[in-house]
Symmetry: D2
Subunit: 286 residues, 4 copies
């Protein structure tokens, strides 16, 4: 499935500052970038880098220098492939058999304090045997018990807050889902990306669980089509995959995000509800 | 400098469980393992693994199976090399010039909520120009304002708690130091290890800051000699480098940790206070 | 119903200190003290006082002076009267009709952050119309979802912690119940007292809700007979009714609490489960 | 000193709701109300009440009924008397000698978790002997270390947050001051009121400490003249003295607050800095 994604980000800098952006689509076995443009106006010093070989996140660091305003443009044509498989046939993987690279995603992180949600997670979901049924139950529970409410949370809100306060945005929904899955000994990680038909258009966050040997993607907000996602960031939580990390004094004055179908594509959405009925799920490899 | 390190850990398992241990000394350019023994009595299924190519942490995962008691023994002879250099000559590295592998250590983590300590950190240390003076000031401030008090904290205590409650153990001192350094845009990470002449003997935790192009080690507790450390774990915080992560129901019934000089060695300690006077510091490469 | 209650508290003082104790049974329309002894050995300066006309709490402040050890003894014979009435006939009282003295018990307090549990409370219990059914549902939910676990919490643990961590003791159960009731606009307060047949014997805490014009007593731990309680303290939470508040450096070296039937009494317990079936409840006036 | 105070509050109700307002000036030995008007347009059912005999807070409860908009107007002419006395001559009052009515103001409350700030308070201020010097040092420390920043906090922010995050408004400054004083065993309480020459005009919050047998008023924000305050609310913290507590769904659409001098008055401000130099302080009796 071919998507045309992109963003326009305008920033105002009060003092010379450094930004680290994470808006580039990832490259991976199931996600191919056919074409890509990235520009900053005016021209500033920039470095493209990754921080490890595992997550595939593509960061851009740029220095505002003396410039007061920056206009950042990104556009890419990305071919995404999703594996669909029969989820209900999958068996739980004990920690003793997990592949090592997934182990860090069992541990608590800044916004996903799985250590503090352990009892709650086991009380709610501990008796569910099938791992796919279990993580879907986590996503369903969040969808039913947390209200999507713009402005009700901020960049310091964590899963420990959300589980009680019960409002949030996609970031908060994902953090809570990740924390609950980790508390259940299921590796879970943060997925940030472009999302087709997300309304209103914006960057999106959802989460992945490692079950049946794959990272299966789920969305507790149910706002995105699971086969309509283009991966930008993979991480333990939003601390690893922020759209922009600012060092200095910079504010975002405008943001526009797009995610459209490529030419000649037709899209048959696979959504949360459907998945459950059909007992299948989706995985995308980073 | 040659050290003989080791530990004896006895565990009692109530149900079949999995343990992930992180007690092996790392291998690295400045830390060579001359000999090493690891045993579990009775014999159980175990896997040795690392989770990435960067930190060098050596994990062992073991399954208790039906066994109710496990006796774990580790012993190694390790040659540690420390680079000493004139710290005061070092200049601050702006975020714009940091090597990419250090960037993740700028972001907040489970126990080091640098995002919430930002103002405090800048108020206390923002005016100090020299990066070595700055991180030493962080360590000094913690040493003066936090009381080392066994039993006053637990595995859920974080830097945000410690900065106000002002008691803790080596883990808490390190988390607070890391959070403050990150808030000051200095990459900082957790260092767990064996420590020569630590009294009483135990695993130790301290922290490293990335200044002058090196990871410089510091200890806010001042309980360890900086050139008497043998590195076990490197991570964002204790979540990455726990001595033991338990999945199931297991309790530690006995723990003995040793760190002695190798044969024929003489030790001239380099401690926190000395470093300041001489304006030098230590770095060990992981 | 006649009870013989009492306590023996031994304290060791490291420095001259002040203690404020709250162990005396209250006097009130439904609780009469027939006889009472209070002694401190050796004799120290002490003041008996109350802080307001509303709660009826009887505090004793005592100064250790140079004494290193204090032995405190309290014993009383107390006649308690409970009103039983048909709870299901009671209608909800809107805030607009609450008697003013109950209004403060709608507001959040140190350990009962009702403001942060609002959504959760309404999601769980908002649809229950009958106020008695509603507060019983709160107590039932806590009983089912929080595990009574000695040592799992401390004096800083609050309802906001317990609602997620899901372990605690009578104090924590009560704080969570109070916070949830307040969030539902039902005045709720802390009740500390002696409890007949509490096992093991100890001071007990439960909670009261203002419904149908009375303060109805409930116990989310289900460890006490509701008609076996002798009231000591009434307050917003444990901060108002601590057994001992210490100013200085004092530790409790021994504590024994008793609550027995008076001579010739026979006791027919009224417990949580029974109340629900019979649709009655209990109130005791402070 | 004569003040003309008042407020205009417009509310929009989405559903029939109840409001509890606390905007009336108190009556007390040192504060006399010469004239007063209170109106709600349109006319709705309202009750004026107090919750105890101690604080003197005057609440109004009103029911919106079917009305969608309410216009509330309050105006009063108030004569305030302040006692000035030589503060430095005052000696510390040990807890053993405090008058009982002040004891509750030693205990932690919702927004003033003095129990968690104990060590910090003693480290910072424990060595100051004179109680007036001590509480002024608390106010000074907050003024120097916390930035007054509108919008940086919300109704859930507490002293435990502010002591680390170091931004807030008058409410947050007061909560932190109260928590620190209580941790130092000095009774401290919340003071809400009208403030002459507060810029921009608004309701104000400051705090009182019980020293030398009086409740001495202080303002960590330094935004108000200490002899320009007209008392509305007294309480443990903002939970006791909120301008408006809303039960239902109501939003404030407009708020205007005034505090002017009465006819023929001339005002000589007594401010924080002055007080320190002259070694005097102010008390107003509630």
């Amino acid at each position: 499935m071919l998507f045309q994604v992109g963003c326009e980000l305008d920033y105002a800098a009060a003092v010379p500052s450094t930004l680290i952006l994470n808006v580039h689509a990832q490259r991976g076995p199931t996600q191919t970038i056919l074409s890509e443009q990235f520009s900053v106006e005016p021209r500033v010093k920039l470095t493209e880098f990754s921080v490890d070989d595992l997550t595939g996140n593509r960061f851009v660091r740029l220095e505002t220098g003396a410039h007061k305003k920056l206009a950042i443009r990104y556009a890419a044509e990305v071919d995404c492939d999703f594996q669909t498989y029969r989820a209900r046939a999958v068996e739980a993987t004990p920690v003793a058999e997990l592949v090592p690279s997934t182990i860090p995603y069992l541990f608590p992180s800044r916004y996903c304090q799985s250590d503090r949600l352990s009892r709650l997670a086991w009380d709610l979901f501990g008796s569910i045997e099938n791992p796919h049924t279990k993580v879907v139950a986590v996503a369903d529970w969040i969808h039913e018990n947390v209200e999507y409410l713009r402005g009700s949370t901020n960049s310091m809100t964590s899963a420990f807050d959300t589980v009680t306060q019960r409002t949030g945005v996609c970031r908060d929904f994902s953090h809570l889902a990740i924390a609950l899955c980790r508390a259940l000994n299921i590796p879970a990680r943060y997925f940030s990306g472009y999302a087709y038909e997300l309304d209103p258009p914006d960057f999106h966050a959802c989460f992945e669980c490692f079950i049946g040997g794959s990272w299966v993607v789920l969305d507790a907000t149910r706002l995105a089509h699971l086969n309509g996602l283009v991966r930008i960031g993979t991480g333990r939580d939003a601390a690893d995959a922020a759209v922009a990390s600012i060092f200095g004094k910079v504010s975002c004055t405008r943001m526009a995000v797009t995610c459209a179908l490529g030419p000649g594509q037709t899209f048959k959405p696979i959504d949360h509800a459907q998945l459950n009925q059909r007992g299948v799920t989706l995985a995308q490899t980073s």
